[in-house]
Amino acid sequence: MAEPNVRARKAGADGEGHPSGDDRFELIDKALKRARFSQDQLIEILHVAQDVFGYLSPDLLVYIGRALKLPPSRVYGVATFYHLFTFEEPGDHSCTICTGTACFVKGADDIVLALSREHSVAAGQTTADGRFTLTTARCLGSCGLAPVAVIDGEVRGHLDAEAAVAAVAANLAASANGDDGAATEPEPERIAEPAGVAGEGN
């Protein structure tokens, strides 16, 4: 198995920092220490890793497995079991549309179709330019607001196709202009908090 080889980023200019050359691993090391390297904290560590890196690369899984003294099969098995973990780099912006029954009766399908047409992307995929990921979820537990979508981590209710397309367009435009509301790289402080709602719902 390969040593961690994740794209280096802001490695300390003074040559110090994480031995992997990527200082983001320091955040993971911190979480590992906080968990006292306890194996039953695996899921929490995976959460932190995904919050920091945006997704779980094979190298990252190996790194975590070694730290917790768990075989790769166990880490991989757990990570792939849970739907919130993702293994591909997500787009800069995301929209998760609930297609549960309450949202379905209120026209969620139209929203999926409209966004999918607008951005030429199927549900579950990211646009070729890496700017936008469209996903669907089943019942986000907000049926009273149906139809519901989570746009860049923000829960939006009573949507229709037009409003959803406009909201996504607004976020895309905002980041194109530089004032990126939904940065790809989460602030380090965020890692103590639960992951954004924008995952696949149950």
Binding site: D40, E44, L113, A122, G124, S142, G199
Partner: protein, 455 residues
């Protein structure tokens, strides 16, 4: 029969501004239940819960007091109390508002539960998607530690109670209590064989109770007001208030609190009645795993026993209302796709059956159904029900068998016309649900469905 209709019992603090903060919570009788519980013997608290007749709000309706009395106290091992906040049953949204508006209520309940069970460690297993509820709970737990409600010396009593918040990672099956325990231990959440039951061999092999958010949050009220207060609502077998979420074709879908025993007709009225131009066709009493019921059953009182008599279950309190404009086959297909997707894969009837059921339903809905499909559906359901390892498999069959029973004609109509009479499906076929594959079971490694007709 006690009082019925809309009530404000457990939700009475929801509208108090800032009650998620401990100061405001304390001004509104916060931690009074805990104060009272500290003067009681643990067995008396359990007896009180038994007397109140509180039945578990997580789906099965098992009496909470009885469940607590089963927790082994003589093993010499620590006892754990675990709150099931994985609320994932489609249509259910009653625990999340409680945790978001009034998180201290749950924390107080956990501490009282800890006292009753001689437990010094509790866990809240929170659905991973509930980011805001997670922040609210984390803040509330921190405040409760600062004020000495949690920690080594609960309110100066010399008793210890620690509480840990666990964020889950998105798997419906982890709501099943033994799967939840495996997940808490850092593994894949797959159900365990029972017996032994969690009451003797639960978390880390120690005696454990797993209870729903609403069940636990009710306990401080019982301690404060007594069992009779609770029994003023509902019926002998189903006492108390109930948090419900009403969704679907009603004017005001949302989160309500009603007394058990309130007829469904009245619940629909509480939610503003049917939306304009819509007429009630069928409804689910408590989430997708509870068999759907036809409009004719609208006068059923909302109690465990009356709903059971109609052939369904009260479930989680997710009242889903569907109108005459909704295709029952399409609805059932969506439920089934959910179960297929969420099957943990441990046992064959559920893992394979779920796949085949949704294939067959999809083919009926899209107009290529065969005549023998209806008996085939029944046959597969019969081979899952009672033969699956956990209740997810059983729940998968509920919508199908119930809809075949009440809406057989509509299935036949799909076959006869060779299409969905409601025409609701065409757009969705462009983007198959399975296209969520990239976030699916095996992710990048598993081939995903290509979109059939992407625009």
């Amino acid at each position: 029969m006690g009082i019925t209709g809309q009530v404000t019992a457990m939700s009475y603090r929801y509208d108090v501004p800032g009650v998620d903060d401990i100061d405001v919570y304390e001004q509104h009788d916060g931690y009074e239940g805990l104060r009272a519980a500290l003067t009681m013997e643990p067995t008396d608290i359990i007896q009180l819960v038994k007397d109140s007749g509180l039945r578990g709000r997580g789906g099965a309706g098992f009496p909470t007091g009885l469940k607590w009395s089963f927790v082994a106290q003589d093993t010499g091992k620590p006892v754990y109390i675990v709150c099931n906040a994985d609320e994932g049953e489609p249509g259910t949204f009653k625990d999340r508002p409680l945790m978001e508006y009034d998180p201290h209520q749950l924390i107080e309940g956990m501490i009282v539960g800890g006292l009753a069970l001689n437990s010094v460690q509790g866990y809240i297993y929170l659905r991973g998607e509930f980011a805001f509820a997670g922040r609210q709970l984390a803040k509330a737990i921190r405040q409760a530690y600062e004020r000495g409600y949690l920690g080594a010396d609960v309110m100066g009593s010399g008793k210890r109670f620690d509480l840990t918040l666990h964020r889950a990672a998105g798997a419906y099956i982890c709501g099943e209590e033994t799967a939840l325990l495996d997940s808490l231990e850092g593994r894949r959440g797959q159900p365990r064989l029972r017996p032994p039951f969690p009451a003797t061999h639960g978390l880390y092999g120690c005696p454990t109770t797993v209870n729903n958010v609403e069940s636990i949050a009710a306990v401080p009220f019982l301690v404060r007001h007594g069992a009779d207060w609770f029994r003023q609502w509902g019926t002998e077998k189903s006492p108390g208030p109930k948090l419900i979420g009403v969704s679907g074709n009603v004017v005001n879908p949302g989160n309500y609190e009603v007394a058990l025993g309130t007829p469904i007709r009245e619940i629909v009225d509480i939610a503003g009645g049917m939306a304009e131009g819509h007429e009630l066709k069928f409804w689910c009493p408590g989430g997708s795993s509870t068999p759907l019921l036809p409009a004719a059953a609208i006068d059923t009182p909302y109690t465990f026993e009356d709903i059971a008599e109609q052939g369904s279950m009260l479930g989680t309190g997710a009242v889903m209302i569907y109108s005459d404009q909704v295709c029952v086959v399409d609805t059932v297909l969506r439920f089934t796709e959910f179960y297929e997707h969420e099957s943990c894969g441990k046992c064959t009837p559920c893992r394979e059956g779920g796949y085949w059921l949704s294939q067959i339903l999809r083919r009926i809905e899209t107009g290529s159904g065969r005549e023998e499909d209806l008996t085939l559906l029944e046959d597969i359901c019969g081979n899952i029900l009672g033969r699956s390892f956990c209740a997810l498999g059983d729940g998968m069959t509920s919508p199908i068998t119930a809809s075949l029973k009440h809406f057989h004609d509509e299935y036949v109509e799909h076959l006869r016309q060779g299409r969905c009479p409601f025409g609701t499906t065409a757009p969705r076929r462009d983007i198959p649900m399975l296209a969520v594959g990239s976030r699916d079971v095996g992710n990048a490694q598993v081939p995903t469905f290509e979109p059939a007709g992407q625009a």
